[in-house]
């Protein structure tokens, strides 16, 4: 790209956009005009970033498991500013850049106060998230992994709902405690191996005892991020209070950092410990799938329900990752990406009615289909996607992860499968209560259907969900070589 390193361009473009927004708003005294220009700049930068990352994915050679588009600059001590993508990370980069323009459009009207700061925080957050997925230096990864707390704390705290302070604190302190344990492990590994390069660390053999402690430290961080039962309690609060676009980013991208971390660090660096803790992870995942599904069933707040359903779906991801076989890992990758589409779309669906009614209580809706037929259809599609109906992307991920789990342990697979039924129960109940039935609430009488701007936000997500449901190879081809490479390494290391 014009002689510029491609990954760095993708990484820093949003930050440049943020600086531009700050400069323009500094020059522009009129708050209205500054807000308008902030929206437009944010949309342009995120869209251009998306286009460049599409080019990145097209140039990506998916027949190789090696890191591609590598860049490395010495930064600090023996730590490098090192970037690169392989089959595991490249699609997360694309997912991030894909969701960002949608978030910008979704916040076009719903964010009214402090518009400039809002978009600056969002663009900085995009840089941070892209960095997490493309860093090939562990310390650099850690820096970005934790730096994401700053903009997210501000987004929840400034633009969130009524109880936003509590949610922001909880989100920040939970994740901080988790990541600080990881920091101790990172310091140890850097000292022991003498390098912070991820590939070199993957080749380094830690003793089994060391692996167990390191695995636990990383687990503390990734399990909170993921989030796994029982450290998931920050997520429903954060989701409920965050603005719509904040929820989309949380569910669509930030949660994937945990799973990505497991695949990138825990599995290849501590294979013996991962095997050792497999029963623990399986148990926690199955509890997450069943217990949080039941909890979701009892929710009265739409966003909270979807948040709990996210925790349940992440349970499938951890099952797949720790199945140590091709099907499981492929399924986990697919499930994460598909959840990125479906959960984001569901939060956007909530956003659409929240912008009109300013309530998320299930009880205050009902009969929406009478006034909002397009909305009802879109919501239906994603509800079914979340349930895992064949033909949507949700199905493929669940089937693959369960297949992987089945090869490892039948009993866990059977329990996990019951979660699918439960998810149908709570999702369809939610849909019935909000969309079907008579229009009882008088305030709903003149509610408007989705306008073109809102529909445009959903269109790419609809296409993505259906397309991936019918043609999962689009993703699996990309991840296949890298995942198989990882599985082979694991098998040899465990012998």
């Amino acid at each position: 790209m014009f002689g510029l390193p491609m990954l760095s361009t993708i990484l820093w473009l949003p930050t440049i956009g943020a600086i531009l927004i700050l400069l323009i708003s500094g020059l522009n005294k009129d708050a209205q005009k500054a807000a308008a220009s902030a929206r437009i700049i944010a949309l342009i930068t995120t869209f251009v970033t998306f286009l460049i990352s599409v080019k990145l994915v097209m140039d990506f050679d998916h027949t190789s498991a090696a890191m591609q588009f590598k860049e490395s600059i010495p930064w600090y001590g023996n730590i490098n500013y090192a970037l690169g993508v392989d089959g595991i990370s490249v699609l997360f980069v694309l997912l991030t850049t894909f969701l960002m323009p949608l978030c910008v459009i979704a916040s076009w009207k719903s964010v009214e106060k402090r518009v400039v700061e809002y978009f600056v925080a969002f663009l900085v957050l995009e840089t941070v998230m892209l960095g997490v997925f493309s860093a090939t230096d562990m310390v650099f990864f850690y820096v970005l992994f934790e730096a994401g707390l700053i903009p997210m704390y501000l987004i929840i705290g400034i633009w969130g709902g009524k109880n936003r302070f509590y949610a922001a604190y909880k989100f920040f302190l939970y994740t901080l405690l988790g990541s600080l344990f990881m920091l101790i492990a990172v310091a140890y590994m850097v000292l022991k191996a003498g390098t912070s390069d991820i590939l070199a660390l993957q080749a380094f053999h830690f003793t089994k005892d060391a692996q167990i402690y390191l695995w636990l430290a990383f687990f503390a961080s990734f399990a909170v991020k993921m989030p796994m039962w029982p450290v998931h309690t920050w997520l429903p609060d954060a989701h409920v209070e965050a603005p719509t676009a904040g929820s989309v980013i949380l569910a669509g991208i930030l949660l994937k950092m945990g799973g990505y971390g497991f695949i990138r660090f825990s599995l290849p660096m501590f294979p013996l410990a991962s095997l050792h803790f497999q029963p623990l992870i399986f148990t926690m995942s199955v509890i997450a799938v069943i217990y949080t599904s039941l909890v979701a069933f009892r929710q009265t707040d739409i966003k909270k329900l979807i948040a709990y359903s996210s925790v349940a779906h992440m349970g499938f991801v951890t099952l797949g990752i720790f199945a140590f076989n091709g099907a499981g890992l492929q399924g986990a990758m697919f499930q994460m990406l598909s959840h990125g589409f479906i959960a984001s779309a569901l939060f956007l669906c909530v956003g659409v009615i929240y912008d009109r009614m300013h309530t998320r209580e299930i009880a205050s809706y009902g009969g929406l289909v009478n006034r909002m037929p397009i909305y009802a259809a879109v919501f239906m599609l994603f509800t079914l996607g979340n349930v895992g109906l064949p033909g949507t992307s949700g199905f493929v991920g669940e089937v693959l992860t369960m297949q992987g789990t089945f090869l490892q342990s039948r009993i866990f697979a059977i329990f996990a499968a019951s979660g699918v039924i439960l998810s149908a129960a709570y999702m369809l109940t939610l849909y019935r209560k909000t969309v079907f039935g008579p229009l009882v609430n008088p305030k709903l009488a003149d509610i408007q259907d989705m306008d073109l701007r809102e529909f445009l936000v959903f269109l790419p997500l609809i296409i993505g969900t259906v397309l991936l449901g019918f043609k999962p190879q689009l993703i699996l081809d990309f991840t296949n070589v890298s995942v198989m490479h990882l599985v082979d390494n694991l098998q040899t290391m465990m012998k």
Partner: protein, 480 residues
Amino acid sequence: MSIENISKQLPFIIPEITLVFGAMVAVLIGAFAGKKSYRAVNYFAILVLLAAGFASVKHSIETPTLLFNGSLVIDNFGSFAKFIISAVSAGALLLSIDYLEDRNIQKPEYPVLTLLAVVGMFVMVSAHDLLAIYMGVELQSLALYVLAAYARDSQKSSEAGLKYFVLGALSSGILLYGASLIYGFTGTINFQKIASLSANANVGVIFGMVFVMSGIAFKMSAAPFHMWTPDVYEGSPTPSTAFFATAPKMAATILLARFCFEAFGPAIAKWQQIVSIMAILSMFIGAFFALQQTNIKRLLAYSSIANMGYALVAIAAGPVFGPSALLMFVSIYALSGVGMFAVVLSLRSEDGRKIESIPSLAGISRKHPMIAIAFTMFLFSVMGIPPLAGFWGKFEVIKSVWNGSHLYLAIALILASVVSAFYYLRIIKTVWFDEPKMEFAGGLAATSISVKGTAILFALLMPFIGLLYTATLVAGNMFK
């Protein structure tokens, strides 16, 4: 290496000589020109500080050089500390200029006293025998007592000065008593000679060591010798507090490190547990007591106690791994401390009242976004969130602890960090999330460009401070 010829020794202490002469010239200007020379003397003193700072790092010294019969040592470890001390002192002095003028207590003595305190700190970081320790500590402390009581008309300031003086004198006495014990039992005051005897030191020497360490710990306000800190911080004029919280802390930690590493290097098992206990106490007392504070200066006092705890962790890591982490951590702490006080100083309500309580910061992000961003960066930095400077300081400390294999200290450090994160987050919440209070709505006026500029300048340093790493690595290798 030790030099006997006095004329050859002088070039090594050019920084100290610069400061002393600078102080004398400043006194003369002040004495003859009076109050109207206030600004000129201040600018002159800032220049002197910067000159002394650059003079101390101009030459990197390969081997430590002993001067004046081994009472001072000049090495990279100390020189780097001197550079940072003069930089933060210059920053703190810059902050004082407008503040003192506003309160009509502008006198040329203020910069002179600052210069003298810095001379004391230079002696502290270079001290290589017990007398030099006492000389440095006293010169520094006497100047600081006056700075604490500088606002004579204010009851609180006088109280702070008196409290600081009485307790400081007590701690100096303890230090001196410890020194006399060590001398009595070993027959020497020189660090090298003490070190050669300390491997199998008897109980008298150990008692002396503990007393001297307690005296120094008082100066760096490490728990359990921290009681004076919140009161003195609150009562003193804010620029003095900015100075107390940064430069003397750096000097005292470096002094403690030198005393432990050089005088009692072979007795590491003896002092290591004391330092570890002080570290854990300071971290947790600093973290938990700060939770209840509503006054920013008191809160920053507890925050500095907690930070001294982290610095003690680096000392506990021992002479091989500790020094560079210590330098890195304390330098970052001192630099961001000045910046944080610059933010506090840059705000006041329009009727001239100073802003000291946290709730009155509500909504400053609306009116002064740059100040708010700078403040937020400092707070996230002391919290230790990457990519800001404070993170690298903590990362180095954790690394040093791993090398010295004291895992429990690392775990205590992160637990204390999470607790402290809570109250830093509360300030950020007030600054960004809360609606401006009626009485302050539009009533917050930013003060002069110099204060605002200092805040923003130091904030801009935050993401780039990783560059310090190489310097501290070189400077910290002295004890290997």
